[in-house]
């Protein structure tokens, strides 16, 4: 039983790392623009699918990954410029529906380009499983974990130790005040969308060898990322990372110990419980609502 638990834990942390990256992207965009971006999952799908397509076109894997990420960043910037900016100041419901519309649009384009089939990216370094005691680990899982650690550290350093990152954080605290001290809020907004799209794309490329990808793959990943951000306290980047890991582990334990068919229900039940009893998130700080 303990070995089995360890195996679930390994699986959970791997999937959780992806949720964490998607959740981190959510938090960045939410901080910069007060928008919950329901198209976040589509960034993950686009990253994976474009990389697969470019690889198929003959590009070497590293180059395909970089190109796919850049392309997704471009899509993120386009989304900001043509969907979020024109609707500046709109109500929460309006922005939610705009991003849902964007997600459906991107999915529709992906469906046209790549059809309904599942596509796989080859593992970065072979498929021979590694043995850790009685548990096994795919080499790709190590890539996912390593990639997540590197990306989260980079974002954390960027936000807390560079002028640009601090400017981005300043926008999230008070946009008007940030503008008054000379921060170009519009540029910060674009930066957040670009960064968030890039994170999503990289997450998609890292996980694609394990889970495969299809035009619909972004839906659930996006929702789990959103859940991670909520569990961690929306707008708290590192909280989102912790929330993602927690959600991944919980889901893997639920799938292993209770029923794999119900794993999504278990994850969302947990999110509902967090919302009911600790609506500001497990790692968030309490905010009073202004009337």
């Amino acid at each position: 039983m303990p070995e089995q638990l360890f195996q679930f834990l390994v699986t959970g942390v791997t999937v959780g790392s992806i949720y964490a990256l998607v959740g981190l992207g959510f938090a960045l965009i939410y901080n910069a623009s007060d928008v919950v971006n329901f198209a976040q999952g589509e960034f993950v799908m686009l990253g994976a699918m474009t990389a697969i397509a470019l690889l198929g076109a003959g590009l070497p894997l590293p180059l395909a990954a970089v190109a796919a990420t850049l392309l997704t960043v471009l899509i993120g910037l386009l989304l900001e410029r043509f969907a979020i900016e024109p609707a500046f100041g709109a109500s929460v419901v309006t922005t939610i529906i705009i991003t849902i519309g964007a997600a459906i649009l991107v999915r529709g384009i992906a469906l046209l380009l790549w059809g309904k089939d599942f596509h796989a990216l080859p593992s970065f370094s072979g498929d021979a499983p590694l043995h850790l005691g009685s548990a096994t680990l795919l080499p790709q899982s190590l890539w996912v974990l390593g990639g997540a650690v590197v990306l989260v550290t980079l974002v954390h350093t960027f936000l807390n130790h560079t002028l640009l990152g601090k400017a981005l954080l300043a926008c999230s605290f008070n946009r008007a005040a940030a503008q008054l001290v000379g921060i170009n809020v519009r540029v910060m907004l674009r930066l957040a969308y670009g960064l968030s799209a890039g994170l999503g794309a990289l997450a998609g490329i890292l996980i694609a060898p394990i889970t495969f990808s299809s035009y619909e793959a972004g839906v659930m990943l996006g929702l789990k990322g959103f859940s991670a951000a909520i569990v961690g306290g929306i707008g708290n980047p590192m909280g989102a990372v912790a929330g993602g890991l927690l959600l991944g582990v919980l889901e893997a334990l639920g799938a292993g110990l209770i029923s794999s068919g119900y794993k999504d229900a278990i994850a969302f039940l947990f999110v509902l419980m967090v919302l009911f009893f600790e609506p500001t998130g497990l790692f968030g700080h309490k905010v009073a609502e202004r009337v």
């Binding site: 705009i98 119900y262 969302f268 919302l275 609506p279």
Partner: protein
């Protein structure tokens, strides 16, 4: 006079099958549009008037449908009794859920309702013994209304049209009642409404239950009309489509929601030809309406028409 629009619409709905006899487009597409109108009008009470988003409304639609399907096929209950049971279940679930879920706002509420919808959908897929799993349940007997068995497209159009008119009539009256005023106050500012002595928690609970009942009612009719239910009819995409209908027509307007439901149903029908492009067009349309006409097509256009009318009158007077 207050209900003039309603009577005009009712006459239109009644005349359609007379003008176009045995027309597939009128009876089948019309019936489908009618069910969507019931759902959208119910959801509009919650979204448009009380200002609370729900991204899980397909769950209540599904509860009504599955209650009818399971009780009539597995336990041989009469259709109307099963429908009542479905309403009871959906209403009770909504009532239990309302307090904790409607305390949340904005994005939190969106997430919570979305999670609820997904949980119910997973149960529909997984609880095979009862729901038949992903393959669904077939062989639902036709609906028997006090000795009259509803059969054929023409009769179903009539039943659903009547149900739809009932839903619209209820919604119009509810909005103008004391409850409706309380809801609009909640939408404006929940805090201010509380200060004025409105029991906002109670008002929100009531409207959540009512909109769940509308959805479950539509679900029961849907199950009998199709004689088949499967989880695909009640997934997240359906919930999003219901929200689309409400915002497409224009929130906080019963006829706006009804028009949105009819427009989206017709659009789906029209896009069948473009199969692969359907999703793309759906997404682009949703974005475009929300960016350029955030108050919705119906409300936006009717406001525009009103402005033109005023302008024309002024011009006529000055000349």
């Amino acid at each position: 006079m207050r209900l003039a629009g309603f009577y005009a619409f009712a006459a239109f709905v009644a005349l359609l099958p007379v003008l176009f006899r045995d027309n597939y487009f009128v009876t089948v597409v019309g019936a489908s549009a009618g069910l969507h109108v019931i759902l959208a009008v119910g959801l509009n009470l919650l979204m448009g008037y009380a200002g609370q988003i729900s991204l899980g409304h397909a769950a209540f639609f599904g509860m009504g449908a599955y209650a009818s399907a399971i009780l009539t096929t597995r336990f041989a209950w009469p259709g109307l009794l099963a429908m009542a049971a479905g309403l009871l279940v959906a209403g009770a679930v909504a009532w239990l859920l309302a307090r904790p879920i409607l305390r949340l706002r904005g994005h939190y509420l969106a997430m919570a309702t979305l999670g609820f919808g997904i949980i119910i959908h997973v149960i529909m897929v997984q609880a095979m013994r009862w729901t038949g799993g992903p393959d669904g349940l077939a062989g639902i007997p036709p609906l028997n209304l006090f000795g009259w068995t509803v059969e054929g497209d023409q009769q179903w159009y009539g039943v659903i049209a009547a149900a739809m008119l009932l839903a619209i009539w209820l919604s119009l009256n509810l909005v103008d009642s004391q409850v409706g005023r309380a809801l609009r106050a909640v939408h404006g500012s929940e805090f201010a409404a509380q200060m004025m002595g409105v029991d906002t928690g109670r008002a929100k609970t009531q409207v959540f239950v009512v909109s769940a009942l509308f959805a479950a009612f539509a679900g029961s009719l849907f199950a009998h009309q199709q004689a088949f239910v499967s989880p695909d009819s009640f997934n997240l995409i359906v919930s999003v489509e219901l929200v689309t209908m409400v915002v497409l027509g224009g929130m906080a307007s019963t006829f706006g929601a009804a028009c949105g439901a009819i427009a989206l149903t017709l659009l789906h029908q029209g896009l069948v030809v473009f199969e692969d492009y359907e999703m793309l067009i759906h997404g682009a349309l949703l974005m475009a309406v929300m960016i350029f006409l955030p108050q919705g097509l119906f409300v936006g256009l009717s406001q525009g028409a009103q402005r033109l009318w005023v302008l024309a009158k002024r011009r006529w007077r000055s000349s």
